[in-house]
Amino acid sequence: MRKLLLLGDEAIAQAAIDGGISGVYAYPGTPSTEIMEYVQASKTAKENNIRALWSANEKTAMESALGMSYAGKRAMVCMKHVGLNVAADAFVNAAITGANGSLVIIAADDPSMHSSQNEQDSRFYGKFALIPILEPSNQQEAYDMTRYAFELSERMRIPVLLRITTRLAHSRTGVECSNPEKQNDLKLPDNLRQFVLLPAIARKQYRELLGKQTQMEAASAESGYNRMIESSDKNLGIIACGLSYNYLLENYSGGKIEHPVLKIGQYPLPLDLVSELYESCEEILVLEDGYPIIEELLRGMLNKGKTIKGRLDGTLPRDGELNPVIVGYALGKKHLQGSAVPDLVKNRPPKLCDGCAHNDAFLALNEALIPYGRGRVFSDIGCYTLSALEPLEAINSCVDMGASITMAIGAADAGLVPAVAAIGDSTFTHSGMTGLLDAVNNNSPITVIILDNSTTGMTGGQTSSAFGKIDNIVRGLGVAEEHIKVLKPLRKYHDENVAVIKEELEYQGVSVIIPRRECIQTLNRRMRQKAKAKTMNI
């Protein structure tokens, strides 16, 4: 047994490497990014030729992983929760095709929205797709469950979803790793029509998936990841899902809880265990670090059964991540509070780095837009979203990857002319290209600003699929050559940049302006590495 100090994300990555994956597919997104990064940095992964490159988006990643599964090898695909929206078409249908080699999907949810635009719970997606879901309570379980997920997926011939949350993803602890397995050999599906979802075949496959539900539930009862911890005080029974189990334990020094606890780590729920707890206890408290999914199911629409406590009745807050104190209050425990934060402590929100190219680009855009007034800049997801805040206050939307261009089209259709879209390079190749094609076909009077810092900046500088390709993509999508302008976003070119933007704002068709300057963080990193290489040579 090797014991390693790992983040939850890294525990999953190490388990996948040990579990004999042949490839991992992903698009960067907090809190899931470190899974791919760990595989990319792993010597073992390199020696074993494990494919580990960033995909253009979560959908392409999911489909590539499905293709690897088709070919009989073990594949993993990782994303943040909202990435699963992007991949949803492939995800839901992969449940209908089923897997050949194992297919494990990792969705990292972000309750409390530390780095996200919502806190949707990926367990809904797993339930929707009718596949097994695993939800670890700690980093060791993240490792063990990932290993188990590969085994389960291959045994049942279905994709398996593993759902984690930020706190587990980004917390480090000692993890014991078990013996590595070999990769699968190439092996086609026994039935070469398994992946052909023509209606007649899809109907058959869907019935097969429905038929497997009993088996999945049996697996949930047998795996040991759902277990009853008996105790004497049956006035209350507690259902603790995933990470919430730790917050529950934290409230009992010595680890002895006076109420029976059903610890949940695998879905579909084992009905026998749930029913045993429900029947034997007066009231039930449901702890879920996400949406109140089980709680809602237990209450039912009319809530006429036993008292079910949780997020829906106010015992726990309706939104946000759980923590030991919130869970303690739900159990009637008292918690200490240190002294209050003094008034002089001011907020320190995140902001664009000193020397960031986005800053210069938005200063120029803001000035060029003065004659038109505020409120016409649609933007997207990345570091540049921070330009919504003071002092720039340059953008008016951030919804989902790629929405800047398409929202600008709709706003222009409504008469808001000119409408501006501001999107990053990586976001553009993730989901902006199809929108730009719409704009060209529509001849929309919009100005698209592709902020090209040549990296995926917000998540820490991963390789951007767009690198070196943007100008040709834009040309290829049909934007007129004379309306494609590349700028150098530097203070000293401010006036010329403002003039170029002004000119394009006046044009009654699609313009694309590309302010191009490397991310200051990746530039500094490169310089440090260069300096280090130089000293090494001496």
Binding site: T33, R167, N246, V325, V341, L344
Partner: protein, 193 residues
């Protein structure tokens, strides 16, 4: 043995290096450890913190409950006060007094220091100058780590071997510099306690 520690600073100031050193030292002493970090959006010049828990028994929660932190280790004075609700009534604050001013309404230094001086147990240090005296201002976070060492319940030798481990790829000179910084911080704290 059980130590719950909040590490506080501004994104990019190196609190994760402090956490890594304490983590490695705790591993060397075969302690259990959990360390919740902040990645992603908040790293861009915003307030960042890390929950670090060490114990001779298994640790349940990745997060420290309010009022239970034994220590707040801060590399920035205003940030040292942001997490006061987390601090145990008997807990200590160890903080650098070098401000990182990247907001327009940063408080006056004098007022800030008065707030810190009101606390029952604190160590304050001019980590930047002390690091400069050791050879480089970049070691300021290691000076702060050093000032925290008398409160960690870890052997000084484990801390030192962790520092060696963490910086070994950067050459002997950098290792020596950081060890010196840790020692300087430690001596300062021992005098102020």
């Amino acid at each position: 043995m059980k130590k719950d520690i909040i590490l506080a600073g501004v994104g990019g100031q190196g609190i994760l290096s402090i956490a890594a050193c304490i983590g490695l030292a705790a591993m060397e002493e075969s302690l259990y450890l959990k360390q919740a970090e902040v990645h992603g959006m908040s790293q861009r010049g915003g307030a960042v913190q890390s929950n670090l828990r060490l114990s001779s028994d298994p640790i349940a929660s990745d997060l420290i409950p309010t009022g239970k932190a034994d220590l707040i280790i801060a590399v920035e004075p205003m940030e040292s006060l942001r997490y006061l609700p987390m601090l145990d009534p008997d807990g200590w604050i160890i903080t650098s007094i070098n401000p990182f001013i990247n907001i327009p309404d940063y408080p006056e230094m004098e007022d800030l220091m008065k707030e810190i001086w009101k606390l029952p147990r604190y160590i304050t240090l001019d980590a930047n100058s002390m690091a400069k005296d050791c050879g480089s201002i970049k070691a300021a976070n290691m000076v702060v780590l050093g000032a925290a060492t008398p409160f960690l319940g870890l052997e000084q030798s484990s801390i030192e071997s962790a520092v060696k481990n963490l910086f070994k790829n950067k050459g002997d000179e950098i290792v020596e510099l950081n060890l010196k910084a840790v020692l300087a911080g430690r001596e300062h704290a021992l005098k102020q306690m």
